[in-house]
Structures are given as structure tokens and as C-alpha cells.
């Protein structure tokens, strides 16, 4: 636990230099904060050459699935030429 607290402190101090903006700015903006654990997955490293990593379109998809309903997105997904994805147990643990 001590190690975790120390690591947290180090990360927050380091991140403060990146996210410096002041209390007032933080209150005005809607900010999503994510702790990403996967080493090298979105930092330069072993995945070089795959046009992957932290590309701006990493959050951009052609297919959407609503985690609440299990229904998949665009109509062409349902038109018979595409593989169908069943809803069901994947929603385990959903609030």
C-alpha cells in the first residue's frame, strides 16, 4: 500500500506539470481523467510501426455497441452481410 501511495504521489506531481491550468479553469471545463495501466500501449515503444498508439482517432470507430442494451450500431451491421453480434452475458457487471 505504501508503494501505491508513493507511486500515486509521484505520478500526480509529474502530471501536474502537464495539466497546469489552475483551479478556476478546472471548474469551468468538463475534464475526463483516466489512469491507464497498460505499459507501452499508448506510449512509444514496442508497438511502433502499427499506426496505433496515441493517434487522435484512437477513439473513433465504425462500429458502435451500446453497452447498456447490447445492441450494435449502424444499420449495415444488421443487413445480413455482416456478422451478427449477440447481446447477453457481456453485460455482466453493468451497473
Amino acid at each position: 500500500m505504501k508503494r501505491s501511495i508513493m507511486l500515486c504521489t509521484v505520478f500526480l506531481l509529474a502530471a501536474a506539470t502537464v495539466f497546469a491550468g489552475g483551479e478556476q479553469e478546472t471548474e469551468e471545463k468538463m475534464i475526463i481523467r483516466v489512469a491507464e495501466q497498460v505499459p507501452n500501449l499508448i506510449t512509444p515503444g514496442v508497438w511502433d510501426g502499427q499506426a496505433f498508439s496515441l493517434n487522435g482517432s484512437i477513439y473513433d470507430y465504425l462500429i458502435e455497441m451500446d453497452a447498456n442494451t447490447g445492441e450494435s450500431g449502424p444499420p449495415w451491421l444488421q443487413n445480413g452481410t455482416a456478422p451478427m453480434v449477440r447481446s447477453g452475458p457481456s453485460n455482466f457487471g453493468k451497473e
Partner: protein, 391 residues
């Protein structure tokens, strides 16, 4: 066009090189239309674009010299500042194609390689979202006020038995290992219930997909396993190194359980657990037995080509089965869904009889604070944070 053309650049070694070999020509008749002509029929071709390594890139970007130091693309957020291995600040892309999105102004990503530290940050209110938590942490967060756990989909843990080296190069040894399994116990080790939250089969196709063929579990049969080992030349049992990521959710629990299940059959697993980055960079793709986390591809032929075709770039079990190669190629080219399914069925039957994988499917778990609303993460694995809001 540039995004597609660069997949064929031999200097890049793009993971999708094989998938896009089928391109005959690409045309852009206007600013918002791309017309792709294929050499051969490929009814599920569209799905290749959903893979996470198919981000849209601009030809203006000098990837060769900049790498990922100044990312660009078409997404809802733009990178403002990146400190490698520490943090990244992304801001709203005001030119994003979907009107009204993203809802948040900023996305702050902290690279925290330790799950306990990540959860401590969540509990302290310093972050809002922690992906890839373990079932133990799930229980803890659910017992506390102010947090919830989201499980948007199942993901695979592939137990890969290398086809090109002893002892698993002999199918009788692979079968012996499979006969020593007990899916119910594995499900308990993953803090779940078989058939409800945990799924098990011996093919690359996950149970939730329509292409899945239901094949009854062969049953745990230690005598049969010993008999097969003796036939394969291991009457006194065998010992094999088993590599896995010890800090990946479920990793250590699955590894320890496999060791205990296989021991009575005379298969001793030497557990070689490493932090995930070490595992992926130094041991993955190069061990007689591996445990690797795999995300589901919405079209399974993408995964088959990637990991189970003899020429697949991520063929971690080094499988080299001409009939499986042939079936994968037929699946990718068959227009009739019913005929295509017959190929899927045959492929899964082959995997059941002589395959190189056990596919244990576990819930992907994300810990979030109650302040988070509309967290979405589709089967394509990447979170759609453009919809997410913070109260």
C-alpha cells in the same frame, strides 16, 4: 487513400498488410467519398476498418520521423501534450465530424503502470476511470460508495500451445492437456460462473459471436490424459515453461489454476510470470505455452487471419495447418453467409480435435466514479469517451 496505401508499404510491416493485399484500386471522386475496388470478393471487408490499428492518418504526417510523438487523426480529441510514460493531455476537437461530440472539453490520461496505484487514484478522487481492473478490485469498489464497475464485453485469454516445438507439437500432448482441464474450476478462479460470466472453448471463436459452433466440453479425464501422454512418449509425465503477464487481470489466477489442474495428469507447468510489458516485448510469440489477453474482433475472420493463419503476424501458437489456412481464406471470400458458416463450423471442429488454443473468456472490467455517465466501450475494444460526461 494514404491510410490504405501505407498498409502495403513493406518498410512499415503493417499488421493489416495481408488484409489489404486485396485492394485493386482506390479512388476519391470527391472530398467525402472513397471508392475501393477489390481484386476478389470480401463480404466482411468493411470490418477490417474497425480494428484498433486502422486509425485514419493524413499523408501530411511524417510518421517515419515523428512516430507517435505528435499524433494526428480524425478523432474527437486532439493531443495537446504528451510526456512519454507519464501522461497525456488531449483537448476537444472542435472540427469533429459528429455534431455535439465530444461532450467533454479535455481528456487527461495518466500512465500508471500499477493497478493498485490506479485504483488508489480513483478512490482519492484524482481520476474518474480505471480500465482493466481485476475481479477482486471490482468487489472492493462495489462495496464502497461513489464507485461502480462497468463490464462492456468479454475478452479472451488465449492459452496457446506452440505447434512448432516440444512438447505441444504432438497433438496427443495438446489433447492430454485439454483432458486435464476443468472449466468450472477455471471460472471460479476468475471469480465468475461458467456459462454466465465466464466461457470456455477450444477454438478462437468466442461464445458470444453468431459464428460460434457449440461443441460439448470433452470432460476432465485424467486417465485419458495420462494414456495420451504415454502414447506420445511421456509415460512419466513432462515439464513445460508457461509464460504469462502476472499483472494482467486474471493472469496469475488462471496460471496457478492451470498448474494445479494439469499436475495430476503428469504435466508440470513451470510458471513464468512477468509484468505485461516485459511479457509482450520479450516472451510473447516465443514460448512453448503462453497466456495472452486478446480482444474480440467483431468479424472473427480478422482474428483468424492475424493469429491462426500460418502467415499471420501474431500467430502466437505457430500453428501451421494447411486446411485451417484454406478455411480462413474461404471464410474471407465467401459471399453466402450460410456457406461461410459451414467453413466456420469445420474450422472450429478442427480446432477442437487438434487445435493449439484454449479460449477462456472473461469480463473486461472498468472501475469508474459515480460522477461518470455514459461510459461506452464497444466490442472493438476502444472506449468511446466522446459520449462520456462528468457530473
Amino acid at each position: 487513400m494514404y491510410t490504405l496505401e501505407r498498409t502495403q508499404d513493406p518498410d512499415i510491416g503493417h499488421l493489416k498488410a495481408q488484409d489489404f493485399e486485396n485492394l485493386e484500386k482506390i479512388a476519391t471522386p470527391d472530398d467525402h467519398t472513397v471508392v475501393i475496388t477489390l481484386k476478389e470478393a470480401a463480404p466482411t471487408f468493411n470490418f477490417i476498418f474497425t480494428d484498433y490499428n486502422m486509425a485514419i492518418l493524413s499523408s501530411d504526417y511524417d510518421y517515419a520521423s515523428k512516430g507517435e510523438s505528435a499524433p494526428m487523426g480524425t478523432g474527437p480529441f486532439k493531443l495537446e501534450k504528451l510526456v512519454p510514460k507519464e501522461s497525456a493531455l488531449l483537448v476537444k476537437n472542435s472540427d469533429y465530424w459528429a455534431e455535439g461530440l465530444p461532450k467533454a472539453d479535455e481528456l487527461r490520461i495518466y500512465f500508471v503502470p500499477d493497478i493498485d496505484s490506479s485504483v488508489s487514484l480513483l478512490e482519492a478522487g484524482e481520476v474518474d476511470i480505471v480500465p482493466q481492473i481485476s475481479p477482486i478490485i471490482k468487489k472492493r469498489l462495489e462495496s464502497m460508495d461513489g464507485f461502480k464497475v462497468v463490464s462492456p464485453y468479454q475478452e479472451s485469454r488465449f492459452i496457446a500451445l506452440a505447434d512448432d516445438r516440444e512438447p505441444f507439437s504432438d497433438n496427443r500432448v495438446r489433447l492430454a492437456f485439454k483432458y486435464s482441464m476443468d472449466p468450472e474450476i477455471l471460472a471460479k478462479a476468475c471469480q465468475g460462473t461458467l456459462g454466465e460470466t465466464i466461457f470456455y472453448n477450444e477454438t478462437p471463436i468466442v461464445n458470444a459471436l453468431a459464428q460460434y459452433k457449440k461443441i460439448p466440453f470433452r470432460g476432465r479425464d485424467i486417465d485419458k490424459a495420462k494414456e495420451l501422454l504415454a502414447e506420445a512418449g511421456y509415460p512419466d509425465g513432462l515439464s513445460v515453461d508457461f509464460f504469462y503477464a502476472s499483472d494482467h487481470p486474471y493472469g496469475s489466477d488462471i496460471a496457478q489454476t492451470l498448474k494445479e489442474l494439469a499436475a495430476p495428469a503428469g504435466i508440470e507447468l513451470n510458471l513464468k510470470g512477468f509484468p505485461r510489458d516485459i511479457y509482450l516485448s520479450q516472451h510473447w510469440m516465443d514460448g512453448p505455452m503462453l497466456l495472452t489477453g486478446w480482444g474480440v474482433r467483431v468479424d472473427p475472420s480478422m482474428l483468424l487471419m492475424l493469429a491462426y493463419h500460418s502467415e499471420g503476424p501474431w500467430n502466437e501458437s505457430h500453428i501451421d495447418n494447411p486446411r485451417i489456412d484454406e478455411l480462413i481464406e474461404k471464410i474471407r471470400g465467401e459471399v453466402d453467409p450460410e456457406v461461410r458458416q459451414t467453413y466456420y463450423d469445420e474450422l472450429q471442429q478442427i480446432f477442437h480435435e487438434e487445435g493449439t488454443v484454449i479460449n477462456l473468456q472473461v469480463p473486461y472490467l472498468v472501475g469508474v466514479s459515480d460522477a461518470v455517465t455514459d461510459y461506452r466501450q464497444p466490442l472493438t475494444m476502444l472506449p468511446q469517451l466522446e459520449y462520456t460526461t462528468i457530473k
